[in-house]
Amino acid sequence: MEIRPGLVTDIREERYGMQELSPTAFLISSSIKVFLVFSVSLAVVAYMTLLERRVSGFIQDRLGPNRVGPFGLLQPVADGIKNILKEETMPATANKRFFILAPMLSIILAVVLIAVVPFAAPLPTPWGIVDMVVADIPIGILFILAFSSLGVYGMFLAGWASNNKYAFLGALRSSSQMVSYEVALGLSLIPVFMLAGNVTLTEIVWQQQLLGFWFLFPLSLAFILFVISGFAETNRLPFDLPEAESELVTGYHTEYSAMKFSMFFIAEYSHILVVSALMATLFLGGWSVPFWSGDHMFWFDGQLISGFTAAGAPIAAEPAVWKTLLTLMSFSLKTFFFIMVFVWVRWTLPRFRYDQVMHLGWKVMLPVSLAYVMLVAATILVLDQMAIEGFMFGAVLTAVSGVATGAFVFVLDRDRIMSGAAVGPDGVSELREPLPGRTDVLPADASNPLIS
């Protein structure tokens, strides 16, 4: 083969000893995949804005946008047209080059992330089997970590180039927050890598299929830590200090208008999409359909296999179009669930104070994730030494992680949601001590609706 069709297949060829598609077919299928994934994810992002506004309307007992089209379904189109036609403002004191560069950086770094997420089982075509992932690169999730760590520059430049104090404060907050939570994010992923034995997302899905457990169960604490740092990395409530409209106007994009503002928005929502897709892939089995082994597929030694016989011989998989569609649906549902969680949390929780964010990041998340890495490593080592495999392996790990998760939640249970005991025997709330200089704790009479 003289022409190298792409570095990705190159690696695949070395690792699996065979190439499935001819170079031309690879090029064409990749182009189609890039086009489809990009346009679908942008459409999803557009409708996520509508979803957010409709759900927030529902949560706040109002209607939300429902004027444009049926149920307001054309609202994103109207917003898009409005943003494109609107006047672009340029602050007189802004640094023009960086002011224009910042939204571009933000949006590019946000939309390329989806490229490594596998979204369905491999699709059989007359020209060979096409993987349902744009780029199955060997570093998998490290690619996402790398590019999302670059995302700081977009926000920071936006805040700095605007030459506006609110914007600059927002930028400072966003970068310190992202740098802090990146550490916990990376550490919360290490148990996943240890269990899967690799960092490629396709193999993480496969290992979950093999184990028969979603990683959510054997690695429950890692999941919780990942969700928390995922919220912080996407700057969503309760971590939306960079925007904090009640203190900083809108933070780093205060000075932006029209399409540039919209680009920051698209970047934020595609981050949410990617993090939701990652949560689904890393912890909920990705595209695999639960309780069904018909969709188990993985490239092993150049062939698509569905598992191993008891003797260790690979069993060939049977890819089918309907399986691809079914797994695509499974993946979409899981991702949609997490998108809904993002929206739901935003309209439920209040914003942290800045010192609370830093406290949680450095004094809680970091030590807990380090300790959890050690715990999972020790458990896996012991289980390996005792040659326990399969279901028991997952079950023991689930039990150990369950205890760790229980302890974590119990210690953090500041408002006694789990342990109860909000009101002491004398009717005085045990929750918080009275403010200094004030003795007027709530009286114990039954007429007080707060206590009874």
Partner: protein
């Protein structure tokens, strides 16, 4: 394809490096530096050292340069840097040291197949086999945590010293 990409990345890396030196604005310099680091990561990918590329971006471009950004932003930004430049002897010394390092690197790495570094490394076939056996991360992690573990821990200690020093300086000011 690989060659074209290599020249593109190399051009961006060199252009970025020149940009770092010639930019008046420190933030501009920093962005050029990030561009250089990112295109170096691209060259690593062309060498099929994917893990190194990812680490290059995560650690250098994503973490260290962000800290640089903090320092630049929080220090005095608008002030004229020219009087800080030490002309004369310092300049000559700086050029001499940089030139010396460049000379050593060219001597060690220049020339195909003859340099000391290249001969110390296993050939491409051995590398391919190593990656096949231990994976792209294992082939770096295993030597790092077995053969070179002392050097690795000492580097960690060095970073700790820097950290303690930074905290000591910060404390004294307050």
């Amino acid at each position: 394809m690989v060659e074209i990409l290599f020249y593109i990345f190399a051009a961006v890396a060199l252009g970025g490096a020149i940009g770092v030196v010639f930019q008046r604005n420190p933030v501009g310099s920093l962005l050029f530096m990030v561009a250089t680091l990112a295109s170096l990561a691209g060259i690593f990918v062309l060498f099929e050292a994917h893990f190194l590329a990812a680490i290059q971006i995560i650690v250098y471009a994503g973490a260290i340069m962000v800290l640089f950004l903090f320092v630049i932003m929080l220090l005095n930004l608008g002030h004229d840097y020219r009087k800080d430049l030490k002309m004369g002897l310092g300049m000559i010394l700086a050029f001499a040291v940089t030139g010396g390092i460049a000379g050593i690197l060219v001597r060690q790495l220049g020339g195909a197949g003859t340099s000391a570094v290249e001969q110390a490394l296993p050939g491409p076939e051995a590398m391919d086999q190593l990656i096949q056996e231990q994976g792209i991360i294992g082939s770096i992690a295993r030597p790092l945590f077995t053969d070179y573990v002392v050097a690795f821990e000492l580097t960690g200690l060095l970073l700790l010293v820097a950290l303690v020093g930074a905290i000591a300086i910060a404390k004294r000011r307050v």
